[in-house]
Each structure stands twice: as C-alpha cells, then as structure tokens.
C-alpha cells in the first residue's frame, strides 16, 4: 500500500503527519496495518527535504541522480535546426553557425537525439541532485532526494527516488509530497493508493485544499483529510470536505506545546504519545478506504 501525504498549502503539517504515521506503522509492524514490518518513508520534497530531521536515519548510501542532456559533435553538425525545432523547452538553439545547448532547460526527453539526421548527438548525464537511503528509528526504511541548489527541475529527482528506492514486498510506503499542486506534486503522488491531504482551517488552507483535491480527482485517488491547527480560522474547510465527500480522518489542535516540540525536531508521536491510538485509527481508516476502493 502506498500512502501519499500532500497539502497544497505549504507548512500545514505534511511531514508532522507523515513521520508520525510512519512511527505508528513501525510500532504496529506485523499487524494488519503494516503486515511487512516497518514502512518505507520517501521524502519527495526534494527542494527542501526535512523528514530526516525528525526521523534521524543513519544513511547507508548516497548517490548522484541526473538527466540525460544532448552533447553535439560540432564536426558533423550541419546546423540544420531539427534538434531545436523538436525541443519543446528551447534547450537547443541555432545561433550564428552552430547549435548551442542550454542544459538547465533540458528535460531529458531524448527527442533531439532521435531527430538529428546526422546522428551527431550523444547523451551525457548531467547530475542535478542526490538520492540517499538509510534506516531510521524503529526500523523505518528511509529515502529522500535532494535537488542541487540552482537547479530548476525537481521532477526527475522525485521520479528516480521512487524508481530506485524500493519497498520490500508488502511493505507500506509513505510518500511525503512537496507543497503546491504542480508537476513535482503530481510526480510524487501518482501511483499511490491513497491521498492524505493535510490542511488548516483557514481561507488559505481551503484555497489550496481545493486545488489539491482537483489533483486527487484527476489522478483518481481515494482521499482523506487531516485538519491541523484545529481551532483557528473557521469551519469552511470542514464544510468543503463534507460537500466533496472527503472524510476528515484526524484533527490536531492548535497548541503551543505541539509547535514547540516540532520546532525542536521531534515527532508528534514522541512528544505526545497520547496520539498513538489516533494514528492507529488513521492508519486503519486509510486501509479500509483503500480496500473498499479495490
């Protein structure tokens, strides 16, 4: 089972929920909630990964990740312009008497290589980030990606993280998605069995929740909501969820102690163990919804 945790709005508590859900599943490893033992948590927010600050994994491997970009042999190039024509991202241009490549715009699709009539394009991997894999407390398998500073494209790093850091058979996977609703979020949550949306009961939270729900609908995912900072704002998020048929699976109150402990880099379950039964319920509700959707 793959559970994606997303939000739309940033800073609503995705990582708070994802890390404590992972700890809950680890504590219930071997039960129906997490039959294959502790889960795998993938921090897909490669522009600002932070789940490791809470789960403190010991890293077992770190390796580069990149995208294939064109390299042109000027000796055989006739500057015919086919490569620039087929590039959807303007990563190649005919300038003066030759082709200029702008690697930071290249999405690595390979169209130019296929289109070149002279066969003078080879592809070289340009590193844009790293992937890391390790083991965190209670045997949680942990992976994350980190996009290099100045690189604009998060999607290839997320794609490779999901492709290269694999779950054991039957292991539950928790994907901590980036904020927003654009390509990196879609890449993180696609292929999941359930989309858990963490929101806050404010007009801003509602605005971005609407967008995130549209993404969930477009991908055909069963969804549930967690309302964080419960007690502030108004009830418009609750009413929206009711109208959309999205169950509110948990509420976390707006409390100074929770904020303080989170700022110290500690998980909600560690500092507030009274939440353990509520996370178990959350995991159970998700499992039932996923099984109901199958």
């Amino acid at each position: 089972m793959r559970i994606a945790v997303a939000s739309g709005k940033g800073g609503t508590g995705k990582t708070t929920v994802a890390t404590s859900l992972a700890l809950c599943l680890a504590a219930n490893g071997g039960s129906a909630l997490s039959p294959a033992g502790p889960p795998l948590l993938l921090d897909c927010d490669v522009e600002a990964p932070n789940a490791h600050l809470f789960l403190r994994p010991s890293w077992e491997a770190v390796w580069p990740v990149g995208i294939p970009v064109p390299q042109i042999d000027p000796a055989g190039c006739t500057a015919c312009g086919r490569c620039a024509e087929v590039c959807a991202f303007n990563a190649l241009a005919i300038l003066g008497s030759g082709v200029q490549v702008f690697p930071e715009l290249c999405h690595g699709c390979g169209s130019c290589t296929l289109a070149c009539p002279e066969g003078v394009i080879t592809e070289v991997v340009r590193p844009i980030g790293v992937l890391r894999r390790g083991t965190a407390q209670q045997g949680i398998d942990f992976g994350h990606g980190e996009l290099s500073i100045g690189e604009p494209m998060a999607v290839p790093v997320i794609r490779e993280l999901k492709r290269q850091v694999n779950a054991r058979p039957g292991q539950v996977v928790i994907l901590d998605a980036p904020p927003g609703t654009s390509c990196p979020v879609v890449e993180a949550v696609r292929g999941s069995d359930f989309l858990l949306l963490v929101t806050e009961p404010t007009p801003f939270g509602l605005h971005d929740l609407r967008l995130a729900v549209e993404v969930g609908h477009a991908l055909g995912l069963p969804m549930g909501a967690v309302i964080n900072r419960d007690g502030i704002g108004d009830d418009s998020v609750i009413r929206f969820c009711e109208n959309e048929g999205i169950p509110v699976l948990m509420r976390i109150p707006f409390e100074r102690a929770i904020a303080r402990d989170s700022a110290l880099g500690r998980t909600l379950l560690e500092t507030h163990p009274e939440y353990a039964p509520r996370f178990r319920e959350l995991a159970g509700d998700i499992l039932r919804q996923v099984e109901g959707a199958r």
């Binding site: 620039a84 959807a88 991202f89 303007n90 990563a91 241009a93 005919i94 300038l95 003066g96 030759g98 200029q100 702008f102 930071e104 715009l105 100045g150 604009p152 494209m153 998060a154 999607v155 654009s182 390509c183 990196p184």
Partner: protein, 122 residues
C-alpha cells in the same frame, strides 16, 4: 547595418518593449535605407526558454545589433553565442529614437558576463 528592436506595437515609431524574450514584436531596420519591417515575436508565449528562442529569431534575421529594455541571463548567453551586440534602450521614447541614439553612440552596450539569476523551469 541591420538592427532589431523589441517593440510593443508593429511599428518603427512604437515604444521599445522593455522585455527581450517576451517582447511583443521585433522591428528589423536596415540603417542604410532606414527601411523597416515588423514581426511578431515567436517566443512571446513560450512556456520556458523564451529568451533563447527570441535570440534564435534575431540570429535567423542576421541582425548585427539588438536593442531592448533588458536581456535575461539565457538570452544574454544566446546572443553572445550568436555574436549579436546587445544595447539597452534606456530613455529612448521609440524604436526610431533608440536607433538614432545607437548610431550616435549613446546607448549602453552589454558586455561579457550575463546578469545572474534564472527562473524556474517547471
């Protein structure tokens, strides 16, 4: 000499468009005859890399110099590669006036290293 200017309208007397990559039009002028022609900028709606595509358009028209309000870092790199001189329109009120200022040596020419900074490519 052939000069291209980014303009907001397809006319030689149009104001200079302050953007290079996403300027609305290019006016191409032959300074010997002062004959000109306007073209819509093919890069204006590009999802990304507009400066590069616009630079390729300038290169295709074999302009030796280009005048605009500003040039982004990728456009700068592309125009350098194409060997096209970049000039800032400054206070010029129209494309025609900008060309006159250029010929009088009154426009700032951009040099070797581009401005820093890059926009997201998602």
């Amino acid at each position: 000499m052939r000069i291209m200017i980014t303009t907001t309208k397809p006319e030689f007397d149009s104001p200079v468009d302050p953007n290079f990559g996403r300027g609305a039009y290019f006016v191409v002028v032959e300074t010997n005859s002062m004959e000109w022609q306007a073209y819509p900028n093919p890069a204006v709606g590009a999802p990304g890399g507009a400066g590069i595509q616009a630079a390729q358009f300038v290169s295709e028209h074999k302009a030796e110099r280009v005048i605009s309000g500003d040039f982004g870092p990728k456009a700068h790199q592309a125009l350098m590669a194409a060997g096209v001189g970049m000039y800032l329109a400054g206070a010029s009120a129209s494309a025609r006036q900008a060309v006159a200022h250029l010929e009088a040596g009154e426009l700032e020419r951009l040099g070797g290293s581009p401005r820093q900074g890059s926009k997201s490519g998602n």
